[in-house]
């Protein structure tokens, strides 16, 4: 049977849905109606296509990474989302949503951000469209991603520091939702991943699917074949937007899909963000999905060296893909991710984001199931400039 998710209520089997206060129901209903109409509107499609091409610089290359392939004994191709304008895949989604916000007549944009890449993308499109922009960011993330905070300020956005809970992405999301409840009449909430209430997980997936769609075609061009498919596609999973964007166009194909989440200090410690490995079904930020929680159903504080993966939940569609065994999820530790960061930098001359480094680190793991000469595609979701302070701290180097 062909994969067709979510249903019209926004459920991915037992996952997803719209668990939001009544105040937000009119806003998400309006957004859903508008999005469903616009996604098949030729004018909307061509406007977005033009922006992706001329503003963001798409298509991004699919690059054969020969030197790491030689190290590994199989063929590694990097989908270079780091070469997008603003330096990550987040802009694909931000451009799509800002067009909808504009259509809805909203004058104020809010967003949450962890690593700051989504915050930068949102600040960027808000500047481009002349809309007021407020970004919520955890105090801890403001500290470790200060380069991005300054970028957002330069772009004219206000960055509001959030000091509750773990002071990271979860708490920034709580605060953004509270702002949205209060200012729902003039404010559009530009969610940065495939999380939140319906229609966000579906809509953000659709906007990010350009990653997988281009990849499939580019791989065939490289291989000079109209039907060949890679053996594996691999992506890191925070909320899961770059991963689902890469997976979705391959979902009905015979291709192994692998999501890599943050193992922090190890999944058997209490310092990790391995939601798929260690989470249980729960409800947070508007949808049902796997969730790191205590026995009393309180949300656990996650940990990852990578701010973009430091989140106790995951997009509902990933929970579905895991539960139907269509995708597999693994974790790598902070240490493995940093090693992968250094490895790619030295071997290929590319500084990957710490988030993307998790996907790369999977290649180095024993028993990863990849056989010699197989073709593997990695979603290189973002560039690593923002992480140099974190890496320097980790290595005990002053910069």
């Amino acid at each position: 049977m062909k994969y067709n998710q979510p249903d019209s209520y926004g459920h991915f089997n037992q996952f997803g849905g719209k668990y939001v206060p009544e105040t937000l129901i009119p806003a998400i209903s309006e957004l859903e109606k508008l999005y469903v109409a616009e996604k098949s509107n030729p004018e909307f499609i061509s406007t977005l296509k033009k922006l992706l091409k001329h503003y963001s610089g798409r298509p991004t290359p699919l690059y054969f990474a020969e030197r790491i392939s030689n190290d590994l004994g199989f063929n590694v191709f990097l989908k270079r989302e780091d070469l997008n304008h603003t330096g990550a895949h987040k802009i694909n989604n931000a451009l799509g949503q800002i067009l909808l916000a504009k259509k809805m007549g909203k004058t104020r944009i809010i967003a949450e951000t962890g690593a700051g890449m989504h915050g930068v993308a949102t600040a960027t499109v808000s500047a481009q469209f002349g809309l007021k922009c407020v970004i919520y960011m955890g105090e801890e993330d403001i500290r470790r991603q200060k380069l991005n905070v300054f970028r957002m300020n330069l772009l004219g956005a206000e960055v509001r520091s959030v000091s509750s809970g773990s002071k990271t992405l979860k708490d920034a999301t709580n605060e953004a939702i509270r702002d949205w409840v209060t200012n729902v009449e003039n404010t559009y909430y530009l969610i940065g991943s495939v999380v939140g209430p319906h229609p966000y997980p579906m809509m953000v997936r659709d906007f990010q699917s350009i990653i997988g769609t281009e990849t499939k075609q580019q791989f065939r061009e490289i291989k000079k074949s109209t039907s060949i498919l890679p053996d594996f596609v691999i992506a890191c999973v925070g909320g899961g937007s770059n991963a689902i964007g890469m997976f979705y166009p391959f979902i009905n194909d015979k291709v192994k899909l692998i999501g890599v989440e943050a193992g922090g200090h190890g999944v058997n410690t209490d310092k990790h963000a391995a939601t798929m490995t260690k989470g249980e079904l729960g409800i947070l930020h508007g949808s049902a999905s796997f969730l790191l929680q205590t026995k009393d159903g309180q949300i656990k504080l996650p940990h990852s060296i990578s701010a973009g993966l430091d989140y106790p939940g995951v997009g509902p569609e990933h929970s579905l893909l895991k539960s139907i065994n269509r995708a597999n999820y693994f974790s790598v530790t902070d240490d493995e991710a940093v090693l992968a960061f250094q490895w790619l930098s030295k071997k290929e001359g590319i500084l990957p984001a710490l988030e993307s480094s998790h996907a790369l680190a999977y290649l180095k793991q024993k028993n990863n199931g990849i056989k010699p000469n197989q073709n593997v595609i990695i979603c290189l979701s973002g560039r690593g400039d923002k992480d140099v302070h974190t890496i320097a701290d980790y290595l005990g180097t002053e910069i």
Partner: protein, 256 residues
């Protein structure tokens, strides 16, 4: 018939305090509820703390955090209600987010709500779209599902929500979170008039209520006023939380 439908049969001014379970300490909850009743409260809302309360402002967020640190969980809350039932027949409603309930087990939770003496439930992150099973199981257990409406809820939907709820609905007074200032303009009055016309059941109003005047004016159009963050704001070093609750409810009732 449960205790809730009983008290709303007669039209009179109603004061409904919201108290976070296990805050400021585990020992305070039973006595605070009993003091509130003695001071003239008509119904009690007990807040079930959650780590990520999306509909709450900083005051209730902080109280929830402390309550969780004090060790409050669903089991403790149900036992506490059961204890209160030895002394009091005041209607008790639990208010909390859906995740801890799902983790506890919806069916088990509702059965135990019934056996502990809980009369109703308010779940701010469970809109009717996701509440089918919840409403059905509430009704089996004679618990009132108190669904919410907001200022931007359309008339037809108010009617629909009140129909699903049956016994009572909760009107969020503002677009916003708990502890925000209530809107003083006539928007609130217009909104409550709308609810009065379209609701098929009684309705209480909460968020941002803090004075005797608020209580009086809200009760003129609705069936009751809920006071939450303002109570926590009244806590001080010079009296026990029970005394604060007693004195403040008296004040809100208009008989100091």
């Amino acid at each position: 018939m449960n205790r809730i439908s009983d008290i709303f049969k007669t039209k009179s001014e109603k004061v409904i305090p919201f108290l976070t379970a296990g805050y400021p300490t585990l020992n305070d909850t039973v006595d605070m509820v009993l003091s509130a009743e003695k001071a003239g409260a008509d119904m009690i809302e007990i807040g079930m703390p959650f780590s990520d309360p999306l509909a709450d402002g900083p005051i209730i967020q902080k109280a929830s955090q402390i309550a969780i640190e004090n060790g409050v969980n669903i089991k403790w809350i149900l036992e506490t209600v059961y204890k209160i039932r030895t002394y009091s027949e005041i209607p008790i409603v639990l208010m909390g987010y859906i995740n801890p309930i799902i983790k506890y087990g919806l069916k088990k939770f509702l059965t135990e709500c019934n056996s502990s003496g809980v009369d109703g439930l308010i779940i701010p992150d469970l809109p009717p779209e996701e509440a089918t099973e919840f409403i059905e199981k509430c009704k089996i257990n004679k618990i009132s599902p108190i669904l919410l409406v907001a200022p931007n809820t359309e008339n037809k939907r108010i009617k629909y929500i009140s129909h699903l709820a049956g016994d009572l609905i909760y009107c969020v007074s503002i677009l916003g979170i708990t502890g925000s200032k209530s809107s003083k303009n006539n928007n609130l009055e217009k909104y409550l008039q709308r609810v009065k016309i379209y609701s098929e059941c009684p309705f209480v109003v909460g968020f941002g209520i803090s004075t005797r005047n608020d209580v009086r004016s809200i009760n003129k159009i609705s069936d009751g006023a809920v006071i939450g963050s303002a109570i926590i704001n009244k806590f001080n070093k010079n009296e026990s939380p029970q005394e604060t609750v007693f004195n403040y409810i008296k004040e809100l009732r208009g008989n100091e």
